[in-house]
């Protein structure tokens, strides 16, 4: 566990000696490991095959060393308090520092208010960290939405998600799973996929980085491996699904391993049911629900999606049978290629880290409907950007011509037709906006204050009950459509 409860807000976590002082025999590039090696924390050996391989991999190792050096530059100022590099492809360090000066004051202010709020509710702090929270009220919800103090997060998430209940009902289970793993319970396929993703989780975070001159693995990488492997054995219908590495990776920055494991169980079972299973049907269902929400709350974006189904991208009469009006629930629109991963990773890596953490505060307090709200909020914010995109403008003009009954001899129409891009191109450009826009959401309050916490915003109509009903509805619609399209599939 990296973030200790005694840590003050400003105390940078970097570099944390505990993270780098461990040694294990496992080499990430060595395919000839045994499961036992993976779990043997005390093994300090460096076997000959590793040495051999090291020589072979010189270029890659050098590259890695170079990357690491440039990452560290012996300056903890380059990293935020969780160990993430401040600088990113979309955000410069200057931008980050400028924003952080302001935002840090906000977090300190919020913490004071939390302390008063807890005092008022007669809740004591233990090592500057509350172990319980007041009963759920609108006031508490408002506090959570404005952000939980960073050093309280681990306990708070655990508390709000009901982690302790899970753990109490399953005492000893995690230890047993770990020992099952040691005895080879993890499938070869899952193990390979997990191993491949360990260092591909947070390469931009100092705690997840393997120093090129060390043989040992960072402690957090070993925890990540154990949690993911244990989970693959615990829930065989899921096994390992890429994106769970991001969830556990982030959890491990805030809580110990066993707790991270049970939080993963809660996320995959309660918040995002079916999303990580081998057919990812739950992910498709959630995207269908998102599209329904877009239809209801974001008419501009909806009209674009709808027109893409009218312009040959979809075929309204071919596959859908009696429920033709809902083809988009089955053949999901192109933008869901982007948004599906927002849900699967619970926005980790989608938006900058402080924004992610604010979303997680609410996810564990309000459950999964909050993810839908955030997705719609992001789309809403990026809407103006993509509606201004030239092709979209032209496309809309063009659409009004076609649907208005204009014909080819119309010269204006012809001129437009030569200029505009196809629907697919318009789709691509919109996708580009949707892909890049969230990565610049450095300041959580740009979405929280401007969209999510507004009192009179239509998105407030989205409740957990509504999302749950939506999920049921979409799942049924998709089943129906699949059943009716099956004979046609066979035809080919």
């Amino acid at each position: 566990m990296i973030m200790s409860s005694t840590m003050s807000t400003e105390a940078a976590l970097v570099p944390n000696e505990n993270v780098f002082d461990t040694v294990s025999s496992f080499n990430e590039d060595d395919a000839n490991y045994s499961v036992l090696d993976l779990y043997d924390d005390d093994d300090e050996g460096d076997d000959s095959s590793t040495v051999e391989r090291k020589e072979i991999l010189t270029t890659r190792e050098l590259e890695k060393a170079k990357a690491f050096t440039s990452l560290i530059m012996a300056d903890p100022e380059n990293f935020d308090r969780y160990g993430f590099s401040k600088k990113g492809y979309f955000i410069s360090q200057e931008e980050y520092d400028k924003w952080w000066t302001e935002y840090n004051r906000y977090t300190e202010r919020r913490k004071k208010k939390w302390e008063n709020f807890l005092l008022k509710n007669k809740i004591e702090l233990h090592n500057d960290n509350p172990l319980v929270y007041p009963a759920r009220t609108d006031e508490l919800s408002k506090f959570v939405r404005k952000g939980i103090p960073a050093e309280w997060r681990g306990n708070a998430w655990w508390y709000f998600a009901g982690g302790q209940r899970q753990l109490d009902a399953n005492v000893g289970v995690y230890d047993r799973l770990k020992s099952d793993c040691r005895e080879g319970a993890v499938s070869g396929k899952d193990m390979e996929a997990i191993e491949r993703d360990l260092y591909r989780t947070f390469p931009d975070n100092i705690h997840f980085h393997k120093e090129s001159f060390q043989n040992g693995e960072p402690a957090i990488i070993r925890s990540l491996r154990r949690v993911l492997m244990a989970f693959s054995v615990y829930d065989k219908t899921i096994g390992y699904c890429q994106s769970m590495n991001f969830l556990v990776g982030l959890l491990l920055l805030f809580m110990e391993e066993e707790k991270a494991f049970w939080m993963l169980v809660i996320i995959t079972g309660k918040y995002l049911p079916g999303v990580y299973e081998s057919d990812l049907e739950g992910a498709n269902v959630d995207q269908g629900v998102l599209v329904l929400c877009i239809k209801e709350y974001l008419p501009e974006i909806w009209s674009h999606i709808e027109s893409s189904y009218m312009n040959g991208n979809g075929s309204t009469d071919q596959i859908s049978g009696p429920t033709s009006g809902e083809e988009y629930l089955c053949r999901l629109p192109t933008l869901t290629l982007c948004t599906a991963s927002w849900f699967m990773s619970c926005f980790v890596g989608v938006v900058p880290i402080e924004t992610t953490l604010r979303i997680w505060d609410c996810l564990f307090y309000e459950e999964s409907h909050f993810l839908f709200k955030v997705a719609l909020g992001i789309l809403k914010l990026s809407e103006s950007e993509f509606l201004e995109s030239k092709s979209q403008k032209l496309f809309r003009q063009y659409s009004s011509y076609t649907f208005g009954g204009s014909n080819d001899s119309d010269s204006t129409f012809k001129r437009l037709k030569n200029k505009i891009k196809t629907q697919e191109e318009a789709d691509m450009e919109i996708l580009q906006v949707i892909q890049n826009f969230p990565k610049r959401l450095l300041n959580p309050n740009d979405i929280f204050e401007k969209v999510l916490m507004k009192k009179k915003v239509a998105l407030n109509g989205i409740t957990q009950e509504k999302i749950d009903r939506g999920r049921e509805y979409v799942a049924m619609a998709r089943n129906r459509q699949r059943a009716s399209s099956r004979p046609k599939e066979r035809r080919k």
Binding site: T59, A67, Q242, E277, Q481, S485
Partner: protein, 223 residues
């Protein structure tokens, strides 16, 4: 920044998809080609990401939009829209990992099933800098590529070797296909609609399915 480029300074837009097993280097091929960047430990890709680069062929500016997605098998279930409108594809494997090569067959059939019939396809053996660990002989892949009429290149996203070449060859092939298609249809006008469809069309993406192909594709793609 090319990925921020929403402009119209191009004559043709080609959508190209990258496919192949997890960990073969798809994301690094993408970043090497579009940003000339390489990350030793890049993040695992989930969902779909893309970036663009504009090239010039025959005095025409061609904007290549390269799509990258998760390699894990189960992600096929949420990426059926991935292939929509693609005119080119690169199937990537890791020359030091034979299973990733063996799976190319599987990726090829996935492509044949879900993408347009005319899609131009290249096979890429990536990580050629790992010569000492080579598990897939060049000749074998070459034969496989010939048998299946695929372009073939061995690349290293790490040291840049052949990366541009691989993409450029594919883009050239697409361009030839598009030009030929236009001539076959007897449509020589610059703004011609290469696939002969009546769908709204600019001077750009060709090889998009005709209405008939569309129906077929839709039937297959459903869910």
């Amino acid at each position: 920044m090319s990925s921020e480029d929403y402009g119209y300074d191009y004559d043709l837009l080609f959508k190209i998809v990258l496919i192949g097993d997890s960990g073969v280097g798809k994301s690094n091929l993408l970043s090497r080609f579009t940003k000339n960047e390489f990350n030793m430990d890049s993040k695992s890709t989930i969902g779909v990401e893309f970036a663009t680069r504009t090239l010039e062929i025959d005095g025409k500016r061609i904007k290549a939009q390269i799509w990258d997605t998760a390699g894990q098998e189960r992600y096929r279930a949420i990426t059926s829209a991935y292939y929509r409108g693609a005119v080119g594809a690169l199937i990537v494997y890791d020359i030091s990992k034979s299973s990733s090569y063996e799976n190319c067959n599987h990726w090829l059939s996935e492509l044949r099933e879900k993408a347009d019939d005319n899609v131009a396809v290249g096979l890429i053996g990536n990580k050629s800098d790992l010569a000492h660990l080579r598990a897939v002989p060049t000749e074998e892949s070459k034969t496989f590529a010939q048998e299946n009429q695929l372009l073939f290149t061995e690349t290293s996203a790490l040291n840049s070797e052949n990366v541009d070449k691989a993409f450029e060859e594919l883009i050239n092939t697409i361009y030839q296909k598009v030009s030929k298609h236009q001539m076959d249809l007897g449509d020589s006008s610059a703004n011609g609609n290469a696939n002969g469809a009546s769908a709204p069309n600019g001077p750009t993406i060709s090889l998009t399915p005709t209405p008939n192909e569309n129906k077929k594709a839709n039937g297959n793609n459903c869910c």
